[in-house]
Symmetry: C2
Subunit: 469 residues, 2 copies
Amino acid sequence: MRRETDPQSLKPFFEPREVVIVGARRSPGFGFILPLALQRQGWGDRLYLVNPAGGELHGLPVYVRISEVPGDPDLAVVIVPAEAVSGVLEELAARGIKNVVVESAGFAEVGKGGKELQERCREIARRRGLRVVGPNCVGVVNTENRFSTVEVVEEALTPGPVGVIAQSGVFGNILLDGLHQQGVFISKAVTLGNRMDVDECEVLEYLHADPQTKVIMMYLEGAAEGRRLVKTLRRVTADKPVLILKSGRTAKGREATASHTGSMSGEDELYEAVFRQTGAVRAETLEELVDLARVFSTQPLPRGNRLGIATSSGSLGALATDAAAEAGLVLPPLSPDTEGRIRAIAPRWMNVRNPLDVGPSGAYLPAMKALLEDPGIDMVLSIMVMPYAVFREFQLRGVSVHDFLGSAVGLRELAPEKPLVACSLGDRGFLEELDRSLGPGIPVITSPERASRALAALHRYRSFREKLR
Amino acid sequence: MRRETDPQSLKPFFEPREVVIVGARRSPGFGFILPLALQRQGWGDRLYLVNPAGGELHGLPVYVRISEVPGDPDLAVVIVPAEAVSGVLEELAARGIKNVVVESAGFAEVGKGGKELQERCREIARRRGLRVVGPNCVGVVNTENRFSTVEVVEEALTPGPVGVIAQSGVFGNILLDGLHQQGVFISKAVTLGNRMDVDECEVLEYLHADPQTKVIMMYLEGAAEGRRLVKTLRRVTADKPVLILKSGRTAKGREATASHTGSMSGEDELYEAVFRQTGAVRAETLEELVDLARVFSTQPLPRGNRLGIATSSGSLGALATDAAAEAGLVLPPLSPDTEGRIRAIAPRWMNVRNPLDVGPSGAYLPAMKALLEDPGIDMVLSIMVMPYAVFREFQLRGVSVHDFLGSAVGLRELAPEKPLVACSLGDRGFLEELDRSLGPGIPVITSPERASRALAALHRYRSFREKLR
């Protein structure tokens, strides 16, 4: 059985006073890159490097032994061969450093020998009271104080409301590389790796209590302890949405995760039931996980499941309608008032109904406005596409998408209690300009089906929360 | 009952001698843009403009009446108000122009009055032997002779093997705007609109016979005639894959299509059965339709369902494996020879199995090579991700992804009979460089699940074809 731990024992992972890098080195690899990255992030004066070779690296002295490190470090990042990790843990404990990120691979994920190594390290950590993230991971990120053991671009350190838990190191890294380009900004992130000590439940508790984190997204290969995961999810989802992508849906997929992070991912039906009962929001695909993170971190929860769609393409409207209906949303008729308002400005050929196909009428904004103000509508999807030829005409005349959508800026404020998502596709230049014009408060999703599913997920989570009352 | 028509009567839509635009005009809209676009495409000397106002437009004379148009036009594009279309059709017939694209909207899609207008036009077309595409469409594209009534960017006119049938005009236009940026290049495209005369079956037959078209992609809201669609699909899929996205899966979605192109989209179960029996490949989402077009137009059909996966991220490998298994593919063990070849170069921590997680070993190319040459593997998925930090190190040292993957160029030729798809995600700059490096012959899909499903679709279609033998 697992000992009880204090979530606050994780704090130095995110807010260290000073940091030691064990295994800093001159040759290419993370031992070379990480000190540089931490210097760039403003941690140069709170950084100590250790390598038996000694000397100097990136203008910093390299200490030969951990015991020689001066100052007041409370976190170590370990990047040494797997065989050397147990010795390093003993030395860190002796030096009084209690929090350790072990990035090294070559443990449980490589079979019997690695499992033994990992068990030995775990025993040392328990005995010496260390808290360990990893092994086989890339560590942690905190955007608030710009502390990141994962080297990412500057923009990825823009503070945001999304907490990230990724079991795998490489995957977590890749995810963080791309999220900011998809409008998802993070508060804190952890890659757990083989979970020798710290697991997803502890991090969930930590992010639950973290005031910067409003939404949690998680990639899981298998629960460390099933029952504890159920209890933890129940507690956390009562306050914050937890979005989960779980691999190992099939027997073959489960085999793959076993040899990757040493996870026993278990039968998928069990997980499906766990997620449903605990109000966790399951993503079917990686793309959906990112959609959910973007929509949950920017939109309010809807009061009900009544969706209004405005679209400039009838086909895309039909595709979005299919996906919405399949995901449990309804498209109610427009209220008489809304219908009247739209008829007053609509050309003769326009069908004034829901989904509302405004076609090339340019009646976008009034339509969206009317839907947002309709008391029978709980959330709005706006499918905004423009043939390239029309977009270019605008460009030639010096009219930007932003000019065209000028008053869209006020839209979000018109009904702050209703989720509003945009969907667009077509020419990449148009998409980029639309995204800029709508700003960070209105997500643009490039698939009508995914846009509908993300809105439906908001509703499902809201319903779950309602039932808890 | 439908009269029998000769598919070759569609030829002037794609290969007109000369073209008349009825409704060319000075005010913004397609009547202004289309003549300009055709001039840019090199059709300026085979173009006649008609408008009762007369005068001159874009340096061309504007004829007041159709009967005054000189030369030898065999195709007309009509962009006049719906009420004026029947008169225009009579005049075109009198002038001896038999093929007509009616772009005007305001027909069956707007209800009873529109339906009557459309019926009157249809009757005229039948009586006078006209062939009509539309109304409520944006017409046709032929990349071979650069004839396009849809204004698209230059790159979208790059000739390719994909024939496109889109029922809706706006949607077809948007689709064409983006396809080239997703590596899909087209032969011919038609937007059918309300299908007053020409329908999807006739176009399927035409593309079936078209030597430039190797793959057909189709967006359908409802079949014009169910039985004929079954017969036509059977004939066409025996030689060329037909990829179909069908909306109206739900009752609400069907209502939406009815008010859009006036289609009765029918029960989805029927369509599902039709597609399965006829070997048509159904896409579940719009994104999947584009994936399928890219993969079917660049990859061979596999001999079997045995997939080999090489990945630098174990998690992405697990997600791809789940999706592949769910879609009917198997991941067989590696052959002893392949295993030996990989073990010889693999670091100790690497699990030599399928999916093959090469991690950060850099052993990508040898792994892909070994999978391509393994006689027990029918197709290969290569998940190529690289943390931004590593990518930047390469960049700083002047090493491009192309240099890194140098010998990837020969990969495609190593096993030309095996489908090879790449998957990547992360930093956008890396993705773009990877796409360029791999070249047009190896599709890069930014979702592990979608990449697996596209490969599974290749196998399903191949199995269907095998059973026909």
